[in-house]
């Protein structure tokens, strides 16, 4: 119960600050000042400044955000971000939600991986959910979708992980690797972590801050910088392009906001029917 408003119950507190930001950045932020926000969000200018430092943006349908049209479990909102190859090489993808008091959800540096990621995050109310993909020219290509967090009639918000059972398993990883016909490799990897936002009374922020996936020889394959809104016990879907798909042992390294380390070895998974 106590956890259910964890992400957004301080929204009203944070609104005045955002309103100030809006008035400051308007008109100087966008390289495409004439381009209106296709999601018509009153928070756009504010999050543009806060999450993307007001850098040049272009709204681009080649950046696709897929999420549930109607959110039922606000603690576990699934999202997939997919950037078309047509935009060119992408150095960084930032996923964010305008109406979250902590808008940034995650930063993904795909390195050699496909510019595509799946995960779940927390939200309390209807909000635009966006992804910004930065190309070599420094421009952020922004796509997004509104998620309606009105809930379903027959669901209730999950109570959240209030037991301390995770403590003895903190940062342990479970995973599976699926080599694909196109030479890429799908990784689903989950870590045990409460991902506390710090917005619930009496529970300080405690969340994973950095994850790097490395090939056997140490080559980084992809890098993730999660933020507080990522769902507890996060599960990430990545499409890697390793030199030898399905052959080498990967390592997942990183840590959380309290300095606890992540270090997991991810050998190739046994394949069903020799697939």
């Amino acid at each position: 119960m106590g956890e259910k408003n964890v992400c957004c119950n301080s929204l009203s507190r944070s609104l005045p600050g955002w309103a100030v930001a809006v008035s400051v950045v308007w008109g100087v932020a966008s390289a495409h000042a004439g381009q209106a926000d296709p999601l018509a969000s009153v928070m756009w200018d504010s999050v543009h400044q806060e999450v993307l430092a007001g850098q040049p943006v272009v709204f681009d349908p080649a950046v696709r955000v897929i999420t549930a049209a109607r959110v039922e479990n606000t603690m576990q909102v699934p999202i997939e971000v997919e950037v078309d190859d047509s935009v060119g090489p992408v150095s960084e993808i930032v996923v964010f939600a305008d109406h979250n008091p902590i808008p940034r959800i995650l930063t993904y540096r795909p390195l050699s991986a496909r510019p595509r990621i799946g995960l779940s995050f927390k939200v309390q109310e209807a909000t635009p959910i966006r992804a910004a993909a930065r190309t070599a020219d420094g421009v952020w290509h922004v796509g997004g979708q509104w998620a309606d967090a009105a809930g379903g009639g027959c669901t209730t918000p999950s109570a959240g992980q209030r037991s301390r059972a995770w403590e003895s398993h903190l940062n342990e990883a479970t995973y599976h690797r699926w080599p694909r016909a196109d030479g890429s490799e799908r990784l689903q990897v989950s870590l045990i972590h409460p991902m506390d936002t710090g917005l619930a009374p009496g529970i300080p922020a405690f969340y994973l801050t950095r994850l790097v996936l490395r090939d056997q020889d140490g080559t980084p394959l992809a890098e993730l910088l999660p933020a507080e809104p990522v769902a507890e016990n996060p599960l990430f879907a990545l499409d890697l392009r390793p030199a030898q798909p399905g052959k080498t042992v990967w390592r997942l390294e990183g840590g959380d906001s309290d300095g606890n380390l992540v270090a997991a070895s991810l050998p190739p998974s046994p394949q069903e029917g020799g697939q």
Binding site: E72, P78, G152, G153, A237, S265
Partner: protein, 322 residues
């Protein structure tokens, strides 16, 4: 066939074309415009639409039913709001000539089946122990959700938890031989009521008809087993929880067909490592085109059921380094 049975058959025919003429709920006057359709001797259904909850329909997308016997009236499910409960109670009184309501059943824990409880005498309310626990735990959150979805229709609605525990049994009430069946699958406890005397099966949300089944608390294996148990009954009429009344097992087959497809599709997707949002976009077979809200309910079912299936594919990492 006696005259009553013949008449019931006629009533059924009338009903299949009748729904289109029913006046829709009026959000301004807060009038659900409830009508009772007789489906057998002393047996009535208030049929909802196959839409989703909305401020236009006031949540009238669920079927409620009542049986008028010589010993009083038995009510199955009280609808989505206090207002519905009150208008439903008034309709029952008009139809029965004011006979006492002796039992109200909440078939399972979902809010469109119990939020009308306020309109009925507390001592008449019954549900299984699991459903009582479910309503106790989630009733307030359900009510909050329904206020968001239905607005004004929900005015003064509060969850009322039944106190009387309902168990599986058979009873003769006012000449109706009633089998109270405690099954599961749509939720962790689903009551179905089979009136052997009239041949009417009140299946509640174990059966959906031309409306995509919902799965927020579903467990598909026991649900399929429950559908088999229901089909073994020699019923003449089935009242689904959602969707039109039918005179054959078609709605049971339709529900089972969808559940089998859903389960198989999600398991296959998990074996392939798809993400939740990728599963959203999988094609839905043409044969389900007759079901309403297919895509939306499929998405919801992915959210309800897929994470556990996908996590079931994962194995622990080989080492953990401190």
């Amino acid at each position: 066939m006696n005259w009553r049975a013949a008449w019931a058959g006629l009533a059924l025919l009338a009903m299949t074309v009748g729904r289109a003429h029913a006046e829709p709920p009026d959000p301004v006057r807060r009038d659900y415009h409830l009508t009772a359709r007789q489906i057998a001797d002393g047996s009535y259904v208030v049929e909802g639409s196959t839409e989703d909850f909305s401020r236009n329909n006031g949540g009238l997308m669920v079927n409620s039913a009542f049986i008028v016997t010589d010993e009083g009236v038995i009510v199955l499910d009280t609808g989505p709001s206090r207002l519905f409960g009150e208008q439903f109670h008034a309709l029952i009184d008009r139809t029965s000539g004011g006979k006492p309501i002796v039992q109200v059943i909440n078939s399972h824990l979902h809010p469109d089946h119990f939020l009308g409880n306020q309109a009925f005498a507390p001592e008449t309310l019954t549900a299984t122990a699991e459903t009582i626990a479910g309503i106790s735990a989630a009733g307030e959150d359900f009510t909050t959700n329904m206020y968001r979805l239905l607005g004004n229709w929900m005015l003064d609605t509060e969850p009322v938890v039944p106190k009387t525990v309902l168990q599986a049994h058979t009873a003769v009430v006012g000449g109706h031989r009633l089998h109270y069946l405690t099954l599961a699958g749509h939720s962790d406890s689903d009551v179905a009521l089979f009136d052997e005397t009239t041949g009417v099966l009140y299946a509640a949300d174990l059966v959906f008809h031309d409306r995509t089944p919902t799965t927020p608390h579903a467990d598909i294996a026991p649900w399929l087993a429950a559908l088999e148990a229901l089909e073994a009954l020699k019923f003449k009429v089935v009242v689904p929880g959602h969707g039109p009344v039918a005179q054959d097992a078609g709605p049971l087959h339709q529900t089972a067909d969808w559940l089998r497809w859903l389960d198989g599709t999600l398991r296959q997707a998990a074996r392939q490592g798809l993400s939740e949002a990728e599963v959203f976009r999988l094609p839905i077979p043409e044969r389900f085109a007759a079901l309403s809200l297919t895509r939306a309910e499929f998405e919801r079912s992915v959210v309800h059921l897929y994470p556990a299936l996908l996590r079931g594919q994962l194995q622990p990492s080989a080492t953990k380094v401190e």
